[in-house]
C-alpha cells in the first residue's frame, strides 16, 4: 500500500467540495476551486508517483478482500484516465469561473455538480467492482444531466430529458447484466469474474446487455441521437466536460469488461460489428458535422464521429497477433486522450468565438479572423489533432491504429481512418473558410476575457504536444493491463 494514501482522496475530496459548495453562499462557490484544484492535482500526481515506483496495485477499501469488499484498481490505465480528468477538468473549471460570471445565479449550481461529476468519474476510473461501477455511473450520469439542464431554456430541458432517458435505459441494461453475472459466478469483482467466467449463454447475454447499455451511454452510432442536443446545447464549459470526459467513462467500462470477459466469450462477429458501427459513426458524424449551421452543434457531431475511432479497437484485438493487439491498445488510448484534449479545446474556443460574435451561427463568423486570431488559432490547433495531421495526438493515434490494421490484415479499416480524416478536415475548414471571408457582416467584435482564450489554447497545445511526446504516457497506460503485459 505504499504511495496509495491519496487514492481515496481522488473521490473523497471532490465529494467533500461538492457538499461544501452547497453550504457556502453562491458567490463563494467558484472560489472553492482554489482549494480544490491544487489538492486534486497533488493527489493525482501522488498516485502517478506511486504507480511509477511501485507498479500497478490493488487498493482494498475497508481492508476487506475482493469478493466481500470493494477493491480499487490502480493500474496504468486508471491512472492515465485520472490524470486526463484532472488536466481537462481543472482547465474547464478555470474557464467556467470566468465564463459563468455573466450568467444567472442558478448557474452557480454548476460548481456542486462539477465536483460530484468529478467524484463519479474518478470512482469509475478506479473501480474494480461491477456493481460499484453502476453506482459510479449514476453519480456521474445524473450530475451530467443536471449540468445540461442548468441553462433551463426549453431546448436545454428537452436535451437534458432525452439524455436522462438514454442514461437511465443504459444503466438498467447494465444493471441487468450485472445481475446475470452475479447469478452465474457469485462475485462482483472483475478479477473474480475473469477467473470464473466461462463461455455460456448467461455470460453472452449478460455481456450483450452490458455492451448495449454502455453503447447507449457512449452514444455510438446509431444510438447517438441524444448527444448533439445535449452537448451542443449546454453551457460551453459543460459541453467541453461532457464531450471530453463523460462519454469516455462508459467506453472505459466497456473496454475493461471486454478485457475481463470478452476475448473468450464474444464471437469475432461481435467485434467486427462494433468496428462497423464505429465506421458508421465516423462517416455519419463527420457528414452531419459538415452540414450543421450552429458552431457548437458542429463540434457535437464531431464528437459522434470521433467516438467511432475508439470502437475500431474491438476488431483489431480479436483474433489478431499480439503485436497488432498491442498497437491497437496504444492507438485507441492515444485516440481517447487526444480527443479529450482536442475536443475540450474545440468546444472552449468555439464558445469564445460565439462570445465574440454574439451568435452561434457559423455564417456570422464572417471576418472574425481579423479580430479573434487567438481563438481561431486554438480552434485550428484542436482541429489539426481531430483531422489526424502530424504532429498531434490524433495523428499518433491514427498512425498506431493504421499499423495495427495493416498487421492484422484488416485493410478495410484504413479506408475509415483516411475518409474520416477527410471529413474532419471538411468541417473544420468550413469554419475557417467563413472566418477568413471578408464581408460586411461585422466590423468589430466583443473581446472575451483573456483567461478564456488562454485556457482553450493550453488545451489545444496539449493535444498537439501529447503527440510529440507520446512515448511516456503510452508506457504508463500499458502498465498492468492485460494487453500491455502480453
Amino acid at each position: 500500500m505504499i504511495g496509495l494514501w491519496s487514492v481515496p482522496l481522488l473521490f473523497a475530496l471532490p465529494l467533500a467540495l461538492g457538499i461544501l459548495s452547497l453550504l457556502v453562499v453562491p458567490a463563494w462557490r467558484p472560489r472553492l476551486i482554489f482549494v480544490g484544484l491544487p489538492l486534486l492535482a497533488a493527489a493525482s500526481l501522488d498516485v502517478l508517483a506511486g504507480l511509477a515506483t511501485a507498479g500497478p496495485q490493488v487498493y482494498r477499501l475497508g481492508d476487506w478482500i475482493a469478493p466481500l469488499g470493494i477493491n480499487l484498481v490502480v493500474d496504468g490505465l486508471a491512472v492515465g484516465m485520472i490524470l486526463m480528468t484532472t488536466l481537462v477538468a481543472t482547465l474547464c473549471a478555470l474557464y467556467a469561473r470566468v465564463y459563468l460570471r455573466d450568467h444567472p445565479p442558478a448557474s452557480s449550481f454548476f460548481w456542486p455538480l462539477l465536483w460530484f461529476l468529478w467524484a463519479g468519474m474518478n470512482g469509475i476510473w478506479l473501480a474494480e467492482d461491477i456493481f460499484n461501477l453502476y453506482v459510479g455511473l449514476e453519480v456521474m450520469g445524473l450530475a451530467a444531466v443536471g449540468m445540461v439542464a442548468l441553462r433551463a431554456t426549453p431546448q436545454a430541458l428537452a436535451a437534458a430529458m432525452r439524455y436522462l432517458l438514454a442514461a437511465l435505459l443504459g444503466s438498467l441494461a447494465y444493471l441487468l447484466g450485472v445481475a446475470l453475472l452475479y447469478a452465474a459466478y457469485g462475485t462482483l469483482s472483475m478479477a473474480g469474474l475473469h477467473e470464473a467466467a466461462t463461455n455460456n449463454a448467461t455470460t453472452q447475454v449478460a455481456l450483450a446487455l452490458i455492451i448495449l447499455g454502455l453503447l447507449l451511454k457512449t452514444a455510438l452510432f446509431p444510438l447517438h441521437a441524444w448527444l448533439p442536443p445535449a452537448h451542443g446545447g449546454a453551457l460551453t464549459p459543460v459541453s467541453a466536460l461532457l464531450s471530453a470526459l463523460v462519454i469516455k467513462a462508459s467506453f472505459y467500462i466497456l473496454l475493461r469488461l471486454w478485457l475481463v470477459l470478452g476475448p473468450e466469450v464474444t464471437p469475432e462477429l461481435t467485434a467486427q460489428l462494433l468496428g462497423v458501427l464505429g465506421a458508421g459513426a465516423v462517416f455519419y458524424g463527420g457528414w452531419m458535422a459538415w452540414r450543421q449551421h450552429h458552431l457548437k452543434q458542429l463540434v457535437a457531431y464531431s464528437t459522434v464521429a470521433q467516438i467511432g475511432y475508439l470502437f475500431l479497437f474491438f476488431p483489431l484485438v480479436t483474433n489478431t497477433s499480439p503485436e497488432a493487439a498491442r498497437l491497437a491498445w496504444d492507438g485507441t488510448l492515444m485516440m481517447l486522450v487526444a480527443h479529450a484534449l482536442a475536443k475540450a479545446a474545440l468546444f472552449l474556443s468555439a464558445g469564445n468565438l460565439i462570445l465574440a460574435v454574439g451568435s452561434p451561427q457559423i455564417s456570422h463568423l464572417v471576418g472574425i479572423s481579423r479580430f479573434r486570431p487567438m481563438s481561431l488559432f486554438s480552434f485550428g490547433l484542436a482541429g489539426v489533432s481531430l483531422m489526424g495531421l502530424p504532429p498531434s495526438g490524433g495523428f499518433t493515434a491514427k498512425w498506431l491504429l493504421l499499423h495495427s490494421a495493416i498487421l492484422s490484415g484488416q485493410w478495410w479499416w484504413l479506408i475509415v481512418l483516411f475518409l474520416g480524416g477527410l471529413l474532419s478536415a471538411a468541417y473544420i475548414f468550413k469554419v475557417f473558410r467563413m472566418s477568413f471571408r471578408e464581408g460586411p457582416q461585422i466590423d468589430r467584435s466583443v473581446t472575451p476575457p483573456l483567461t478564456l482564450d488562454v485556457v482553450a489554447l493550453v488545451l489545444a497545445a496539449s493535444a498537439i504536444l501529447i503527440g510529440l511526446f507520446a512515448h511516456l504516457p503510452l508506457h504508463w497506460l500499458r502498465m498492468g493491463s492485460v494487453l500491455g503485459m502480453g
Binding site: V7, L15, G18, G62, A143, A149, T187, Q204
Partner: protein, 233 residues
C-alpha cells in the same frame, strides 16, 4: 406510432427471450459470497448481515449512493420552479389533521428511531428510518404545521450535508493508523457505524423531503419570497 409499437414489441420480445435463455442456461456459481459474509460478521461491528454489507463491507457503494441522492437535490435546487409553496397557503389546513398530527408525530419519530436502532440486529436501518422521517416531514407540511427550522435554508442544507460529511470524515480519520479508507477498527466498528447511521438517517430524511416541492424557499434568491397560487392535488 404503429412502427414504434411494433419496434418496441419486437425488441421487448427479443430481450425477454434472450433473458429467459440466460436464466435457463446459467451455471451454478463456485464462489460462495454468503459464506464469506457470515464468517466476517464478527469483525463487522453489527449483527444484521445486510447492515454489515451496506455500512461495512460495501460501505463505499453506500457513500456513492448518498452522493447520487445529493446530486438529485442539487438539480432540484438549481431548477427550482420560481414558485415555492408557502406553508400558509398549501396543504389541508384542517384543525383535525393538526390534532392528529400532534399525536402522530412523536409516534413516527419513535418508529424511525426504532427502525434505525433495530438495523444493527434485524431488518431496518438508515434508509428505512430516513424515509419514515421524510414521511413525517411530508405529513407536517400537508397539515400546514409551520416548522421554522425546516424553513431555514442554511440549517436545512447543513442537515443535508451532515450525513455525507460525517461518513467521509470517519472514513478518512480511520486511515490515520495507515489502513485503507473506511477501515473501521474492529473494537469501535459498532459505534462508528451507529454514528454514521444516525447522521445518514437525518440526511436521507431531509434529502427525500427536499425532493418534494414542499421544501422551504431557496433563501439565496430574493424572487422566491413572493406569494403563491395554491396547489390542489
Amino acid at each position: 406510432m404503429i412502427l414504434r409499437i411494433v419496434l418496441a414489441g419486437l425488441l421487448c420480445l427479443g430481450v425477454t427471450v434472450a433473458l429467459g435463455w440466460a436464466v435457463l442456461e446459467r451455471p451454478m456459481p463456485v464462489e460462495n459470497l454468503p459464506e464469506r459474509v457470515a464468517s466476517a460478521m464478527p469483525e463487522s461491528g453489527v449483527e444484521h448481515p445486510i447492515t454489515a454489507v451496506l455500512l461495512n463491507f460495501r460501505s463505499y457503494d453506500t457513500l456513492l449512493e448518498i452522493a447520487v441522492l445529493l446530486v438529485a437535490v442539487v438539480v432540484a435546487l438549481a431548477l427550482r420552479e420560481a414558485q415555492p409553496d408557502q406553508p400558509e397557503q398549501m396543504g389541508l389546513d384542517n384543525p383535525l389533521l393538526r390534532a392528529v398530527m400532534a399525536w402522530l408525530l412523536p409516534l413516527i419519530l419513535v418508529v424511525a428511531g426504532f427502525l434505525l436502532w433495530a438495523g444493527s440486529y434485524q431488518p431496518g436501518g438508515a434508509f428505512q428510518a430516513g424515509s419514515v422521517l421524510a414521511a413525517a416531514g411530508v405529513l407536517l407540511r400537508l397539515a400546514g404545521v409551520t416548522t421554522n427550522w425546516l424553513d431555514n435554508a442554511l440549517l436545512m442544507r447543513a442537515g443535508l450535508a451532515l450525513g455525507l460529511l460525517t461518513f467521509l470524515g470517519i472514513g478518512l480519520l480511520v486511515m490515520l493508523p495507515g489502513v485503507p479508507f473506511l477501515t473501521y477498527p474492529a473494537a469501535h466498528a459498532g459505534t462508528l457505524i451507529l454514528v454514521i447511521e444516525l447522521t445518514l438517517t437525518l440526511s436521507i430524511g431531509l434529502t427525500l423531503l427536499s425532493l418534494f416541492r414542499l421544501t422551504p424557499p431557496y433563501a439565496d434568491d430574493p424572487d422566491d419570497a413572493r406569494p403563491q397560487e395554491d396547489r390542489n392535488l
